[in-house]
Amino acid sequence: MAVDVFAPVLANTRLSPDYNVLALAAPQIAALARPGQFVMLKTSSGLDPLLRRPFSVFEHLRDADGALQGISILNKRVGVGTAQLYEARPGDRISVLGPLGRPFVPVHPPAAAWMVAGGVGLAPFATLAESLADRATPMTLFYGGRSASDLYYESFFARLGAELVLTTEDGTRGESGRVTQPLERALSTCPAGQPLAIYACGPTPMMRAVAALGERYEREVFVSLEPTMGCGMGGCYSCVVRVRSGTGSHFVRSCLDGPVFDATTVVWDALQAGH
């Protein structure tokens, strides 16, 4: 059940020239949202742009007494809508539709959970980490960015007991290179007897690489894909992802059957270019 909340902006915290965290007073959605679900935001009140934009629910916001206040989103400025969210000011109102999509399924101990995030792909993992923590599931966050200034919220995950493995392409923080390097090392050394679920979100090439590692090491991988979405409700059939079905394959709507997919079912070659 999705609701549409015309939510006041509680705060806009700029993390960098292109990243910000936007706090939205939508407690109804916070109450319903599960890890990995997303919302569709109307970034402007007018017609420019016309369509909503999809964003993962980042944090559940609570007041001093722990009552749900709303949600936040981790926004990366890439175009007109995300630029509007970057410029949003407290008091502005933004229409928030959600929660939408299939959530992550958090594993329980003794299984371990590995989260693999690239850039803004960190967004769906804050809520996942919380529910993993509730289950006392041992967790690791493999988190890669271009450089040190692109890595955020490590302490948030550390507080929840996540082990952090950081990489930057320019080596300014953590290991130098791609996040899949330490992931592969970890996989190669992880005892076969240790049950494990891998959750990945980030640039498509990264998720594809993680999926490949999952197959090689015979580990379950769940990816959160980011196709362009027109409606988020199953109405437009714009968001399709090709998935294997029996012998063949067919298009499914990622706003309903995703955005989280079992990586082995995704036909990667058929994914929308650029994402």
Binding site: M1, A2, D4, K42, L47, D48, P49, L50, L51, R52, L97, P227, T228, G230, C231, M233, G234, G235, C236, Y237, S238, C239, V240, V241, R242, H250, F251, L256, A270, L271, Q272, A273
Partner: protein, 309 residues
């Protein structure tokens, strides 16, 4: 409170606000957010006889005050629709319009037959205007004889109200409304989308995998309103008007121009809860302006004393 009921041929709608085809899935997707029975009608996604895969992504791209789509009529086919979706839609009390497509006259007729035999279909909207697929519909919709042939062929095989959906990509849309009327249609729907394209100048590739797509949304509204008005003057048939409706006042423009009912497509993507706003707003406009029934407003455009058109 004014009477919002309208008639499309033998069919009575509780109100003139419908969800447009292809913008509302099969309707069931919205069932737990909305009471589908409150809509004047639900026009489900275009259906062929068989399942269709549709075009690869990217299937949509946003444009100024509009969007292009080239979904390619991905669909489950009429038989699975009847088996899997129709019963649910009936249970929900939806007034179901089915948008039907065909590559041949026979296919249109076969799809129409299947739906006529099934329980719970209120009317058939003949999609002869989808700009996004080579083989389906549009070759009928861009020729007067083709339009006449499809409508009269389907007329022979069904007693359901049939509503050809006209393409705006023609010189004289009114002549197509006339052809539909002559062939025995119960109403006409217009407009479908405008054939258009967008180019990524960095890659110099089309932004849609299908190269071209259909333009919808507020951008096209003034053209659509004009076409509805032209058709209103050309035929007696009820008109289902659409194209960029996002608000009560947008819907009123179409009704005043001559539409008996309106459909909302793209705006549903932005405001999935727009329906009550439109239905209530229409009622209060009628009350405010002293119209006992919405039917009193249809085609009430007042031309200025000094007319130049």
């Amino acid at each position: 409170m004014a009477d919002l009921a309208v008639r499309i041929g033998s069919l009575r709608l509780t109100n003139p606000i419908l969800a447009a085809s292809g913008c509302f899935g099969y309707g069931v997707e919205y069932a737990d957010s909305l009471d589908l029975a409150t809509l004047g009608g639900v026009v489900v996604k275009g259906l062929f006889l068989r399942e269709r895969e549709g075009h690869p992504p990217p299937r949509i791209v946003e444009t100024p005050a509009g969007m292009l789509n080239a979904i390619g009529l991905q669909g489950i086919g009429v038989h699975r629709f009847v088996a899997e979706k129709l019963p649910e839609l009936r249970r929900l009390g939806a007034t179901v319009f089915v948008n039907i497509c065909g590559s041949t006259l026979d296919e249109y007729c076969e799809v129409a037959r299947v739906l006529s035999d099934a329980a719970g279909v209120a009317a058939l909207e003949l999609n002869i205007s989808c700009p996004n697929i080579k083989e389906g519909g549009i070759q009928f919709g861009c020729s007067l004889t083709g339009t006449y042939e499809v409508v009269s062929a389907v007329r022979k095989v069904t007693s359901l109200p049939i509503i050809p959906k006209l393409t705006p990509n023609v010189t004289d849309v009114a002549s197509f409304a006339r052809a539909a009327e002559d062939a025995g249609a119960d109403a006409v729907s217009l407009v479908n989308t405008f054939l258009a394209m967008a180019i990524d100048v960095e890659t110099r590739m089309p932004k849609l995998s299908n190269v071209m797509g259909g333009l919808s949304g507020p951008a096209i509204r003034p053209i659509a309103v004009r076409m509805v008005w032209e058709c209103r003057q050309a035929v007696k048939l009820p008109i289902l008007g659409m194209g960029g409706i996002c608000s009560v006042s947008d819907a009123l423009e179409f009704i005043i121009a001559g539409a008996t009912a309106v459909q909302v497509g793209t705006a549903n993507f932005v405001k999935p809860f727009i329906w009550s706003e439109l239905i209530d707003g229409l009622g209060s406009y009628l009350d405010r302006h002293g119209y006992p029934s919405v039917t009193d407003l249809i085609g009430q455009l007042q031309l200025p004393a000094r007319e130049h058109a």
